[in-house]
Symmetry: C2
Subunit: 496 residues, 2 copies
């Protein structure tokens, strides 16, 4: 078990550190802890690693959920907390309502309207005495001993170094998501902004407003002004297209009104290696291309080769100067998933039809980090919110059933009938393209026939559909009010 060796190393480092730091991480002097220390002693002596020990048969079994995205949050929402304790381990304390994230970059929606705190999705983690939310990353899993190793996220606190702790699980749900793909292109991580988290959207908004203001200050050349206000989006999937649409709306409505001095300098370019919106119906794709072009978005077919601080270089040698670069070329396996020594499916954690990781006991995986094993005869599902959410819902009901039948504790579910396997039925795809227009593609798959819509009706369907999906009533209200105030007063341009 290599991770245990690391654990020992880390613990030793900790015990060698200054006394004031030791003070801050001395273990809780509780009977629970004493038991836990005895439990961990079998792995290593003379160091302190604390955490949650294994549950006893007279205690509620513990479900540990890694991640707080669509999959993990839907699971937590539906888990029966009368049967299980829930422990969520994630580096962020909220779920992001990703389909509306692009709208927050330009102020159509506010950041908090698309963020749902975990405690609002599953109140047990904050109110039940033995359910928890831990702001941490999981670094390693000891499948044999039903235990994970975590490290806290202390970014923002100067006085605390991150520390390690262990959590024993009865059931483990790996829903830690995927990472943005950069295809190894140099400079992407340094100079581009992704669009996956709220802090990405905040960064984009701050940069955009700063560039708008700086380009209006005396002393900026014409060329530099054009560069500062050139917004380049790489990746023509729904996120890239929606962001381009939102940007062009922002330019046509708000920049023309509120940054009149520089309105003729701002431009949007969308770079895609293949077709934009490749998963959509041909007719919709043509419509989207026409609409985006009409709104002033320049569509460029090209392959990015190098990203530099002020320009990107395409494979045909073209230089594209930019002031804002948003990178949205899909997702791939995260370093954490890569580090796990279990069978994979296209780099993702391999699962069976019941979303279990078949090689180990009591471990499940859902969302973008998992994919059906080849042995299931099924295709790896696309990395979509609706797949993740449906899997979370299915797995919650499966685990509730297992728990009700007495299989909640570790190694106790072998003889329980799991019921029907998970079946995914695609409900369709949607994307806005700006100017109160959207695409709705209700075909079940790329090659199937079915209804597809484009235009204002689709836009209305898009907004209504997402409004009903926003998790909490509080955020439903805020999304609605944000939309109304944007319509009446325009977008908010304070750079805070």
């Amino acid at each position: 078990m290599p991770w245990l060796k690391n654990l020992i190393k880390i613990s030793k480092t900790i015990s060698n550190q200054s006394s004031s730091y030791n003070k801050s991480i001395t273990p809780l002097a509780s009977p629970l802890l004493t038991q836990f220390l005895q439990f961990t002693k079998q792995y290593s002596t003379n160091h302190h690693v604390v955490g949650l020990e294994a549950t006893k048969s007279d205690q509620k079994p513990r479900i540990v959920v890694l991640g707080s995205g669509w999959a993990g949050c839907r699971l937590m929402k539906d888990i029966d907390t009368n049967i299980y304790d829930v422990v969520c381990v994630s580096p962020r304390n909220h779920m992001v309502f990703t389909p509306l994230l692009a709208s927050t970059c330009v102020g159509t929606l506010e950041f908090r309207s698309v963020a749902e705190p975990i405690g609002r999705i599953q109140p047990a983690v904050s109110t039940q005495p033995t359910s928890y939310f831990f702001l941490a990353n999981c670094n390693a899993i000891d499948f044999d001993n039903h235990m994970i190793q975590c490290q806290t996220v202390t970014e923002g606190v100067e006085t605390l170094e991150p520390w390690n702790f262990n959590v024993s699980y009865d059931k483990l749900v790996i829903a830690s998501g995927a990472h943005a793909l950069t295809f190894g292109i140099k400079g992407v991580n340094e100079h581009a902004t992704f669009l996956r988290e709220v802090h990405h959207a905040q960064e984009i908004r701050r940069k955009l407003l700063l560039n708008l203001m700086l380009s209006d200050v005396p002393g900026v050349s014409e060329e530099e002004k054009r560069r500062l206000l050139h917004c380049v989006v790489v990746g023509g999937g729904p996120t890239g297209v929606e962001f381009s649409g939102e940007l062009s709306d922002f330019i046509l409505k708000d920049v023309h009104q509120r940054y009149a001095h520089v309105k003729d300098y701002i431009h949007v370019t969308l770079i895609e290696a293949n077709e934009i919106l490749s998963s959509f119906d041909d007719r919709l794709r043509v419509y989207a291309t026409k609409q985006l072009t009409k709104s002033g978005v320049r569509l460029v077919r090209g392959l990015v080769q190098d990203v530099q601080p002020e320009k990107i270089i395409l494979s045909d040698g073209t230089n594209v100067p930019y002031g804002l670069l948003v990178w949205s070329t899909g997702v791939g396996p995260s370093p954490f998933v890569n580090s796990l020594d279990i069978p994979k499916a296209k780099g993702r954690i391999g699962i069976d039809e019941w979303l279990r990781v078949p090689s180990v006991q009591d471990v499940y995986s859902i969302g973008d980090c998992s994919g059906f094993l080849e042995s299931t005869g099924r295709q790896v599902l696309p990395a979509l919110a609706q797949v993740a959410e449906r899997q979370g819902k299915y797995l919650a009901s499966l685990l509730n059933k297992v728990g009700k039948e007495g299989g909640g504790h570790a190694n106790c579910a072998q003889n329980i009938n799991l019921g029907d396997p998970f079946v995914y039925k695609h409900l369709g795809s949607m994307a806005t393209i700006g100017r109160y227009k959207a695409l709705v593609d209700l075909r079940e798959s790329k090659d199937a026939k079915g209804v597809s819509l484009a235009g204002f009706t689709s836009f209305f369907v898009w907004r209504s559909a997402y409004l009903t999906r926003v998790v909490s009533w509080r955020n439903k209200l805020y999304v609605l009010i944000n939309w109304l105030t944007t319509l009446v007063f325009g977008r908010d341009i304070s750079r805070i």
Copy 2:
């Protein structure tokens, strides 16, 4: 003129830098610029400093406003843009509605509800061709030549170094505000957070939520948990008291519900060297003390001597460990005001009864950065929003009158009758103290008699009064909705 020497130094540095940088700041090739370069040549040769040249007699006169606080924004709002061009120079593009800022730290209100973009307050700066908002700091003023020297704020853009530019004025209004006082105590700037800007409130909120989450992770000692969750407020003026009240509300309502595991560890301590709310009526002060104590705020009479990363040390030797330290001990002159070579009043820019800086032509000063000269026989007014706002309003009407009578251009207002001098009448003071209670003191001065209220009625008066004062309809709506949703759903606890 020492600033001109500096200017030359800076310009020389710039012209020695790499060619790619030079490219980005080459001057605009316009006839205006040519004239300006000729104009600046009289000060220095062989370098390029660009900017706005002096207006001609057939052009609109230009008012330059330094700062975007209560004083500057009220002035800009009321300035007649048919008479004047307005140029605002400020390091932030919005006004902060400071009386409600404390509420944003714990999520009672959202950050954007208390920030008003300058372009919403005075649309001319973004729509009129010769009015501007410049995101910059003013570094020096050449009173003789009616010109200011500015430097852009480029924090957040890696590819641009800050650059200098000049702006000529016909009328200059210095409303650049004051700086937080630290009394030279070591460690305040490094470890404490002030509460004057939106980014301060954001920092406090992020820190508070992080500490709440970290203290719930296994491996934190009891002592460390108590430290992390000890919120210390230094300064018992209205800001310190209101923030303490908001914090105790947050603890009693939201922490008890949403951070139930650690609710018994969180405490608030308010440290004040003298009496809290010293400007308020005795009866109100007693009431506030009683209410705050009842809400769990520990009031400590003490003098801070040293601020260290994890604790503060009082003058009597007491160590106070803290997880969050908010510093709010009043304001004093800023380095910029100190650098100006003009007569001062208690360190502030000395002004006469018409808010003019009497030693120079066409310069006015309002808000926290200015004070009546001793020769006026008046007292320096307190650094309050209502003083600043009233001065802004008065000065706008004075300048509108001057402009209408043909005195708008530089050196043209000597023979114009300025009308009545500025007279300040204190309308009273208000402060919330948490738990839907507030203080309203309607006495004209500290020693006068008059009405004073405390309790829920005052709270209602407080909220109504401020709601009507919020500048835009958009933000009025958002403040109202924030209050309602906080009441119904509780405060938002996503750490974004």
